[in-house]
Subunit: 230 residues, 2 copies
Amino acid sequence: MDQKDFLTNIAFDSVVFGFSGGALKILIMEYHNTGFFALPGGFVQRNENLNDAVRRGLKERTGLDNIYLEQFYTFGDTARYKPEIMQTILESGNYSLEKYEWLLDRFISVAYYALINYKDVVPQPDALSDSCEWYDIDALPPLILDHADIVAKALQTLRDNLDRKLVGMNLLPARFTMNDLQKVYEAILGEKIRRTTFQRKMLSLEILKRHEKQYLGKAHKAPYLYSFEV
Amino acid sequence: MDQKDFLTNIAFDSVVFGFSGGALKILIMEYHNTGFFALPGGFVQRNENLNDAVRRGLKERTGLDNIYLEQFYTFGDTARYKPEIMQTILESGNYSLEKYEWLLDRFISVAYYALINYKDVVPQPDALSDSCEWYDIDALPPLILDHADIVAKALQTLRDNLDRKLVGMNLLPARFTMNDLQKVYEAILGEKIRRTTFQRKMLSLEILKRHEKQYLGKAHKAPYLYSFEV
DNA sequence: TATTTATTGTCTCAATTTGTGACAATAATA
DNA sequence: TATTATTGTCACAAATTGAGACAATAAATA
């Protein structure tokens, strides 16, 4: 974590979406003894592609390779430069201010969102943080810097992309019911969808494979299980 | 243009779209005595918002304030790091390699596209360049680094946004005919559009104001002139 | 075992949007 | 005055979407 290994003035932040209990969630880190909550992020090595740096960071936090990832905006306002926050974080973690002085400089941050299968992940804190945990998108703690703006823009971009990209595939397990899929769409859009219209639309896309094996255990007609045809 | 005034490792590039003679065009700079063609770009001052830096750069190239601007992607592959190109540019311009050594470092570039009214602009070269000129989007010279990729992604984003943003407003003069507007859409999409459907759709948006004053001079029924209501 | 409950998969019909061509109107030209 | 090229609008077909109806059925209940 030496200055000479990393590009200066540039960082990245990730909004990692998961779906569980009918709600959309994201990963938030809490720093040691500071009460500061933030998005997982990191810095770009001098010999590393930007996209690879983000994947490296996500691998450390989630253990996953091959995560679905979309870059959506780069945040570069001077208002996001608040060195006292990083200073507090470093001091609370007993890090040398001289050695890590470069972290107190201004950073422009490239923001990505990731979609992952909630159950595949055991979130891992990094050296500076106490925890890395899922938070319901509607019940986030107060976040440092402009991270609330980053989350808001990530969610807006996800909504805008909902019809164009295969969102469900990345947020659900391999097999799921039509109702599971609808719940994902409703959580992202923040509103109810008409069941029959949704079912017709999804089937007409011809990207779903229907399996005869059915999900049982409830007091009603058993739904088909589906998977995405890739 | 001193290192201490600017953020390091971060730059921006702009794809400036204009519309003339039925074709979509963009601004390209040519550097002194190098045969290098590139997008207009620049660097971010330490006390300056990223978006403001881009506006400053565009103002220098076009003379315009209040340009319509959209950030669309940040390019950060190591493959775009080719210091010998910047070195050639500096040497050809008789600039001191010591003083501008920081320009030979790796840069991650935040890319924007701008939409402007072609007739409002007299493109201005900067100190390092011979020319800043309009090129038809289908007849660009070979561009340095990954600038061809940047242009391709800008055009794709513009197409994707065509239905959601008021593209025509920024590429046309204040008053225009329905046919002018259709030509803009066709140039961006790269395909023909059905006239009656387009007209119906545009009118149904209720963002066009029809003026009784008509455009004359052709051997057929004179079309209405329109402007955007905002 | 028979009945009830909740949800699923599919169908139908209405409402809306889009595709396609027809046609009268008209400014300039021949 | 007739012709030409293009415009604004309409009419109808085709496709998509909205909204509800209904039979099917796995489990719970009586």
